[in-house]
Symmetry: D2
Amino acid sequence: MFSTLSPGALGLDLDHARAVELAAAHGFGGVDPDLGHLRSLGASGAAEHGAAVKEKGLQWGMAGLPIGLDAPAEEFRRALVDLPADLELLAAAGVTRLGTWIRPMHDELDHRQNWRLHQGRIALVAALLEDAGLRLGLEYIGPKTFWSTERFPFIHSLREARELIAETGARNVGLILDTYHWYTAGEDAEQLAGLTDADIVSVDLNDARADRERDEQQDLDRRLPFDTGVIDLDGFLRAVGAAGYTGPVKIEPFMATLAERPVDEVLSQISGLLDRAIAVGEQR
Amino acid sequence: MFSTLSPGALGLDLDHARAVELAAAHGFGGVDPDLGHLRSLGASGAAEHGAAVKEKGLQWGMAGLPIGLDAPAEEFRRALVDLPADLELLAAAGVTRLGTWIRPMHDELDHRQNWRLHQGRIALVAALLEDAGLRLGLEYIGPKTFWSTERFPFIHSLREARELIAETGARNVGLILDTYHWYTAGEDAEQLAGLTDADIVSVDLNDARADRERDEQQDLDRRLPFDTGVIDLDGFLRAVGAAGYTGPVKIEPFMATLAERPVDEVLSQISGLLDRAIAVGEQR
Amino acid sequence: MFSTLSPGALGLDLDHARAVELAAAHGFGGVDPDLGHLRSLGASGAAEHGAAVKEKGLQWGMAGLPIGLDAPAEEFRRALVDLPADLELLAAAGVTRLGTWIRPMHDELDHRQNWRLHQGRIALVAALLEDAGLRLGLEYIGPKTFWSTERFPFIHSLREARELIAETGARNVGLILDTYHWYTAGEDAEQLAGLTDADIVSVDLNDARADRERDEQQDLDRRLPFDTGVIDLDGFLRAVGAAGYTGPVKIEPFMATLAERPVDEVLSQISGLLDRAIAVGEQR
Amino acid sequence: MFSTLSPGALGLDLDHARAVELAAAHGFGGVDPDLGHLRSLGASGAAEHGAAVKEKGLQWGMAGLPIGLDAPAEEFRRALVDLPADLELLAAAGVTRLGTWIRPMHDELDHRQNWRLHQGRIALVAALLEDAGLRLGLEYIGPKTFWSTERFPFIHSLREARELIAETGARNVGLILDTYHWYTAGEDAEQLAGLTDADIVSVDLNDARADRERDEQQDLDRRLPFDTGVIDLDGFLRAVGAAGYTGPVKIEPFMATLAERPVDEVLSQISGLLDRAIAVGEQR
């Protein structure tokens, strides 16, 4: 696994060129690609940019999937019209991972209806991504304060996410594992047993507030890893290490305070936390 | 449809013989069978009792299914061991309807796991009931204050219940429709369109408190039909009438205050409310 | 229901303008739209053409869906890119029905994998069609000599087709019922019970060879309706009539000999057979 | 893995005591338990017998599941009534594996209906077995001459069998892998990738006739392993070895000629073939 700088996940407003510089300067192993930036470069520019990032010793993290999985049919269709151009740019730049999250509730579609919607659309998108050499990561969402807010709760556990992925029949779809969702879903290391590198597309590390019960935790109010100790990061990291995971690891705390501190100070802290976490995961 | 006296649903502690007398005296069209009573009578006694009830002009309502659909496997197996004796008694007495409810959440099994558990067990139970000439009614539960209390919400809408019934492949399984669940599930008359008599095993009529939002309603704190007008009973009854429903209609308010009033006064009121409701449903 | 001239189904090579003339001349109630012809007319031409056909007293039958449901992902995506232009033409002309068939076997995908492929893609296509006011008809294929020719048989019965349609959750998807598939699938009138007009998009009438067992019948070697009497057309038609079916009825015998006879003679015979059949279906 | 003497699989009519003697004499690593024999011994006798077999250096192979998974509901119920007594005997004797096969077609139930029947019943049976410390093995059947003989083909591939097992949610259910089914299903070593010891309950080794195409092979007309070389036994065994399989391996040729030869000669040959096969599987 390698540490990744994902400015968006940190709430930092950095343009992509600066993010690349800072990732290299602060010893990150990788940086998230920026699809908007690649679009501005065109295909040959994207290839050059990918080579330049690689030259700096950085790997690509994960780009955001430019498709809303549960969008209205015509909007989804239009995203498919536009998809090949983006996939070409991503492939040219050497990006291999795209990711999105699964909205854990719906006001109209019940669990089975929503499942079928997602299964069919993910299978189609995954096949198109596979043609371009890209993997798709799916993130399940854990907080009850989120999934219980509409008429029909949807996937909010690792097991459900794995079954959905299996049903797509796609070999290039895997999980985005976020400790915050894993914790709020009431899961522990046992749920992670049996995973392999092929099952994991990205890993997010976060801690949770110590002054709230699990079912009261808010999706957008997290803590930095190893801060409160509420989440069993060591157990999680050992399990991910046992899976032989080789991909990006980032921090996604949704803490507005990070953007208020000097960026170098923040990135130095983040990079250090990721190094510490990866050391736990790679212990034998 | 016909009005039915169900002492348990009214919170009244009446022995079965008295319930039969009172049902006849207060002009109910039917009375709920009491499996415990039938067990005490034996097969030939059950047949005589069924004939006697019929003689009084009463039809049978619905008995409770003596099996916990989501019980541990060994407990479920043991219930299957005992089932034929009960089915023989019920059939001897002329009972044709058994019912149970679907627990709308689970702390261990997620929606799909729980679905498979229910599908398999209901299919088996329904086949055994069919051999005995019995139908099985399933009640979905609507209040969010109920289905949101554990890790995994389960079926809490009419559409889900209908899909589950369809998947059992059984022709003798139908719905128990309760206005309280229909209302708290956020449903209206459109959801009832297309139902036929074969799809409905029993109907429960209730109203809801006027001082609570839909999502705040409590499963065990209801009101008598036509009391607050919160629930669109007329729309519901017209839809059930359009389905050609021929079965029992009862009231299940879970109001402790009923048991504190004189029983004849209560049953007179209940019988009158049911007559009023049935008149709405049978209008053309 | 109304009789429809479908030149392709009869193996006749008629250009569309002539097909319209002949349909009117021989007393058909409708004629199949020709998407290629509409494309050559453009949107305003399509609208004029639709009005002209209507003026002749003809209704539209069913156009072929210009999408291969089980095409490779990129081919399917490209068909979605092109779909809106076709839907605009069809809607302008007043066409309301599109149809396709379900390939009843696959050499790679087993039954469940193929089901998920179809479910997802049909749901998406149906939603796009619904936006354009179009219904989608799906035809299941019955002959065992067809579905048993690869590693994994797929849908080859009415019940499977109905479950697939239900799972798409689409209200604008229905069946193409063909007596040849109904017969070779081993079905009878009981399977048609409970269908409504909303469940049926098109009806095909054919008979089967008398010198072959059901499981030896070939998909492309059929007989004209009422020819051999092998297929219970009367039972089928009464069931379709009981469903209140209001759509197109055609003959699809795949008999090369029709194209060798004078076209007026053939169409006179076909129109007469359809009138006879519709009379059976509309008897009360 | 260890070689197992399964008289039934070899078509040999040996009483159980003699089978145990012969297994030990011919160097088998195990012998199949005989539920009928255990019933005749009672619980304490079964425990003694298990100890005696172990003393001879033999492990238990797999007993037959005394339940028809697709039996009529009342027959299935009655099997559940009788099950605990058998499970007690098997557990007392130290047996840990029970197995059955999945009938690969049905004349009434289509693929999805049959799937639901099997899913529900296997889940229930597996839970009851788990309480007794027993694992359940399921064998999928490959020959097209078998699965294509009724209206609705069912599971006839490894992937389908694995999905069914996953859907039961049971941790004590695994595969019975038979090279004959693996070959006739058109599978190769790739399909076996990723299996672990927990996924496999028993292994059967057979070869196929050289003078027939794959789709013409008959289920009951097989050859001894390594005989014709039609089946890639080495590829199969290496994959099973890579899975870390630790269970019984037997031969099930359904060749009537074996019973016509001297039993010691036959068992010597069988034991030698199994040793050869296991050596291939355990090569590193």
